[in-house]
Amino acid sequence: MQARKWFVFVFVVSSLILSSCGGGGAAGNNKIATFIFTQEFDTLNPLYTNMWFASITFQIWNCWAWNFDDQNNPVPVLVKEMPSMQNGGISADGRVITMKLRDDIVWSDGQKITSEDFKFTFDMNINPKNAVATTFPYDKIKSIETPDAQTVVMTFDEPYAAWMGTLWHGILPAHILQPVFEKEGTLDNAEWNHAPTVGCGPFVFKEWESGSFARFVANNKYWLGKPKLGEIFIRFVPDDAAQIAALVNGEGDLGTFFANSDVPTLEGAGVQVYRVYSGYNEGVYFFLHPEKSHPAVRDVRVRKAIVMAIDRASFAKQVLLDLTKPAVTDWDNMLYVDPSLQPYPYDPEAAKKLLDEAGWQDSNGDGVRDKDGVELVLKYGTTTREVRKNMQAVAQEQLAQVGIKVELYNYPSDQFFAGYDEGGPAAHGDLDMFEYSATPQFPDPDVADWLCNNIPSDENPSGSNWSAICDPELDALFQLQATQVDFAARQQTFYKITKYIYDQVYWFGLWQDPDLWGVNKRLVNVKLSGATPFFNIAEWDLVK
């Protein structure tokens, strides 16, 4: 009996010691900022992940060629200046982009960052031996030349307007990874992917313990100045309520991805809440296939009546705690929206008139409008997210008041967002109205969801134009913007696009859906950007 007691005691003590042997040591007066992430990153190799929680760390330990500031303006990091037609960085035909690199940029081990690192990153991305997360947008580049160590020349088949928002989101150290690729024939299993001890950000990777934490310490060789913080400690806390508790009791200095309903609790505890727009605008799409759609929604007057019958402003105020407002376009809070556009007002009487004009009246007295024997009954679907279900319930009640009956459908996210070939309800045209929010390559506005050649079908099962809209005028505008490398010209095209979609009510916004960040007051100098949240992290500091 005594021996067993000793066995248990020794086991527990040795487990305790074994568990605490993973490192994670910190010391003395080092300024350590603790971030709370609700998801753990999958890998730290920029080519192998698009996961948001992974990619936002690149401003900490890796580097983009340029960041975006809190106004979404580009800020050069590795390049001397942003390429443009004016400085000769973009050719007259828009097909060649030349980047001039700074001559003081170095990896954290002191090795110079050169054009060879860019060429290597490109080569690794498109090499089929590497199972990278996406080959976009590098598969748009025809060739890359490196005439000298500080010059990178990219040639495209067609002018590529979205280059600034999509290219060079992290680069690879060729001097570390080239030998790995030559030896193993792939980067899939490189140790650097999970322990990138050589980086180019203001901090250097130190340690990552699965499921628990990751540490990044100050990079003394960072060319834009040594960071004020000594260490970034990222703790993975998957539970939302536990994250809030950690922010409230001061165990976390920064957290994100919490609900609007948590904001009063956080603000009550002195946590500053930042609303950062990253391209998400919750809205409703109509299924407008010329043959398969409901005849009512093909009429723009009916679509306009629907948006005017829903009190979106009150929903934002009461349900979303007045922390946001109705979205006007799918590109709200970007530089590409026609500034004259305003949200459609809530006006049920005007909605009724529009429906009358369109010929939809309640001829059989059942409380639901009809026309030519077809009842105005619409299927409205979305995911099971609570706030979306609340919106559906409100819309159902308010639309009933103008004589439109709405049947509600909710699906788990993986089912709702499934593609045409997987039987997704939105992709398949099973819903007359479907609600979600998506972001383009923020802050770039380019999307392919409105193109005629992107309508899903048996022949094109991967099509992402789930609205099945083929409007030649709109299609031409989208095709044009994709090739306009000149910002001003492209902006004007997008003004037309946003106005056109607004007038035709091909989509209507419910609310703007910014990222919420909670920052404890002891963490100062914090600015957050929608595209590169930690763009000025070298300036962040801790005060008592």
């Binding site: 527990v12 040591g25 992940t49 999970h194 628990s212 409230v248 001061g250 165990e251």
Partner: protein
């Protein structure tokens, strides 16, 4: 006994084989490993097609299972999508100790991913199990000896309260009480989550401190179950003739309770513990999630959601092997506790 053990081990082999087939087929219907690879946007069709091929997900399920079991280094695979299999496979298969690479933690062997978490889970769960068993023994024996006393009634009521509360409620309640509000009230407080304070470092004391709340949460519910179980079996044994004989012989009460009664009352308790122990390897999904404890429960859930067959199968097979092993150990414990039991 040796022959019995060898026979049981041999019987387990086809059983584990059948379990692996069933679990592998079920895994094909859980999660989509490619769905989240697009980040905040839907994975592009071209990337989906390429990754499906490169990760071997385009193969029929029987072939995927075969590769998982025996590897694919005896054949070639098509990486560039030209329809020609040109690259030799590299997987060795489970039978040669290769559980494959994780699809979530790309490029890391599933065994490494699991092994990183196993000590944390064992530390948390075994500590909780020790607290539960010792606490339940104390409560159960006391309640049996002092049946219907005030303390027995109080502990019975407390057991039912503990048993009725969902674990997430207990976990969040103790966080807010002992971490958030204690700090707000200026009292000594406990950490809300994680394994250590980064300002101090990962010392044994820090880990122990961070274990207090999760161990408490796990223990509350199981303590109620176990103590009720021990109470009822002890009551049954204490009413037996041989206990009355022991009393009439004038044996000390301590010997009667702990040597004669408890040992015989232990058989059903050993069964319950034997069933529970292998499941400890699976960790405590909810508790680990709420307290940000990096254990197997969280690992299982995170990787299941993203269809990471290699890691999920590794965890499930580990648990399956442990169940078989602990059932065998339970049978051996029976024979030790009750000499009348003999295995042929």
């Amino acid at each position: 006994m040796t022959r019995y053990i060898i026979r049981r081990v041999l019987q387990a082999i086809p059983l584990l084989f059948l379990i692996s087939i069933a679990l592998f087929v079920l895994m094909q219907n859980v999660g989509d490993p490619l769905a989240t690879m697009g980040g905040r946007t839907v994975t592009r069709a071209a990337d989906r097609e390429r990754l499906t091929r490169q990760l071997g997900l385009d193969k029929p399920v029987y072939l995927q299972y075969l590769y998982w079991l025996v590897g694919n280094d005896w054949t070639k695979v098509d990486l560039d999508g030209d329809g020609v299999s040109e690259t030799p496979g590299t997987r060795k298969g489970v039978l040669r100790g290769d559980f494959g690479m994780s699809l979530v933690k790309r490029g890391v062997p599933a065994t490494v991913v699991i092994w990183e978490r196993l000590p944390n889970t064992l530390l948390l769960m075994l500590t909780a199990e020790v607290v539960i068993v010792l606490g339940a023994l104390a409560i159960g024996i006391y309640s049996a000896l002092r049946q219907y006393s005030l303390l027995d009634n109080l502990m019975t009521a407390a057991s039912f309260v503990g048993f009725s509360m969902p674990i997430f409620f207990i976990a969040l309640a103790v966080i807010y009480i002992f971490s958030v509000y204690f700090k707000r009230w200026g009292l000594p407080y406990l950490p809300a989550g994680g394994m250590f304070d980064p300002q101090v470092g990962k010392t044994p004391w820090q880990v122990a401190l961070h274990m207090v709340l999760p161990v408490t949460s796990i223990s509350v519910i199981s303590l109620a179950t176990y103590s009720r179980y021990i109470r009822s079996t002890m009551l049954e044994v204490l009413g037996q003739d041989y206990i009355r004989t022991a009393r009439s012989k004038g044996l000390p009460k301590r010997d009667i309770v702990f040597v004669h009664a408890l040992k015989n009352a232990s058989l059903p308790i050993v069964t319950v513990i034997g069933l529970d122990l292998p499941l400890l390897l699976g960790g405590a999904v909810v508790t680990e999630r709420i307290f940000a404890w990096p254990g197997m429960g969280r690992l299982f859930l995170d990787h299941l959601e993203r269809g990471d067959t290699s890691v999920v199968m590794g965890i499930l097979m580990l648990i399956a092997v442990a169940v078989v092993l602990f059932q065998l150990l339970t049978d051996i414990a029976y024979a030790w506790l009750d000499p009348r039991i003999r295995y042929q």
